[in-house]
Symmetry: C2
Subunit: 221 residues, 2 copies
């Protein structure tokens, strides 16, 4: 007999409510961080905005900072799904580069940059973000292990993923710093940087002269 219970696009009320609540909390947290500054608000303020109880907040996130890393986790989701879609006979490094470069078209990219900049002012937020990257590393490494586990050693795969993630992080930081407002070519700017650093990585950092933009040789800051 057919299940006709799904009234909400293949999702039950329960699932949908949870998604909504989670989003409401994350949005409230982001708004607060943007307005009063990261680390300058309490959980109670978040729950008030989101319209949930204090206790419910902690059912979703272990800390206020963790509510601000949702977007980064979504970023990883995107990388992984892009990764799954790419041809399996492509060289490993090409696949990785494409998977990472293609993510720069995602929505809310400028918010990403904002969050990066916020981390400078709030150590706890920085830690939460680093933890998020760490989880991402583990997830991607696992995906690679499943796909290439037979042809590459564990140490090789984890080291490679670590470097790729580190390079991407560096690229995003540099982008977040040098692309302050939401420039129209923001995505392109980020993509160029990611390509640049991943190319450096593939070349074993042999050429120190690679530059992303004609930068006047920084006179001692």
């Amino acid at each position: 007999m057919l299940k006709a219970t799904n009234r909400l696009g293949s999702l039950g009320r329960r699932e949908q409510n949870k998604i909504d609540t989670r989003r409401a909390i994350a949005d409230a947290a982001f708004d607060l961080a943007r307005n009063v500054g990261p680390g300058a608000f309490t959980v109670d303020q978040i729950t008030e905005r989101a319209g949930v109880s204090r206790r419910t907040f902690f059912n979703y996130f272990p800390s206020a900072q963790d509510a601000l890393t949702v977007r980064m986790d979504l970023f990883i989701d995107r990388i992984l799904s892009t990764f799954e879609r790419l041809p399996r006979d492509e060289p490993l490094f090409d696949t990785i580069i494409r998977a990472f470069a293609e993510t720069t078209g995602m929505e809310g990219l400028s918010q990403h940059g904002e969050l990066f900049r916020m981390a400078d002012a709030d150590p706890d937020l920085l830690r939460a973000q680093l933890h998020s990257w760490e989880r991402a590393e583990a997830r991607i490494a696992e995906a690679l292990r499943i796909r290439f586990g037979s042809t590459a050693s564990q140490l090789y795969l984890t080291a490679l993923v670590g470097c790729v993630m580190s390079c991407t992080k560096t690229a995003m930081r540099d982008w977040a710093v040098h692309t302050p407002a939401s420039a129209p070519d923001s995505g392109k700017q980020l993509e160029a940087r990611i390509l640049a650093v991943l190319t450096m990585l593939r070349d074993g950092f042999a050429d120190p002269g690679l530059r992303i933009a004609p930068d006047p040789p920084d006179p001692g800051s």
Copy 2:
């Protein structure tokens, strides 16, 4: 009038007391983490062991976990001082590899491994450690910038340092996992891993077959 006040090897009472207090706190925290488990003790327990007041603890460390990253910061000190000592006309990558490889002879290396393993059980400790690595990255990048700032772009240097740190982290994790007890050749084990991953990095991860231990070789690709 001559200063005859320094009775303690070029250090005043004040400086020495602070060093002692800091060490007492860090030791107490490490002992507790080792005995009752990371994240399973309170700040009050630390202060009781260390013989200081609760308030004093927070004058030295912002959280209990941060008292456990002192050793990692010392590790970075060692890398940096080794780095300073190496010849300045050596190729950049060689200098880096040597600076990192030479640190494996440091005292308390096994405690390092212990701390790595502890991070699996305590998310907050993991975050503190990630933060510690992050600070280390910044310090080393700055040292490199001063030394090579004229011949390499900022993006290149930060990306390179990030990858080197990431590789070292990977090597130390793998070492911490696979060298459980304090093996007699613990330092050599770690050094071999660091050399392996940094070599991979220098080769642009071209050869997936590099292995640290004889594993069923699969000369694929």
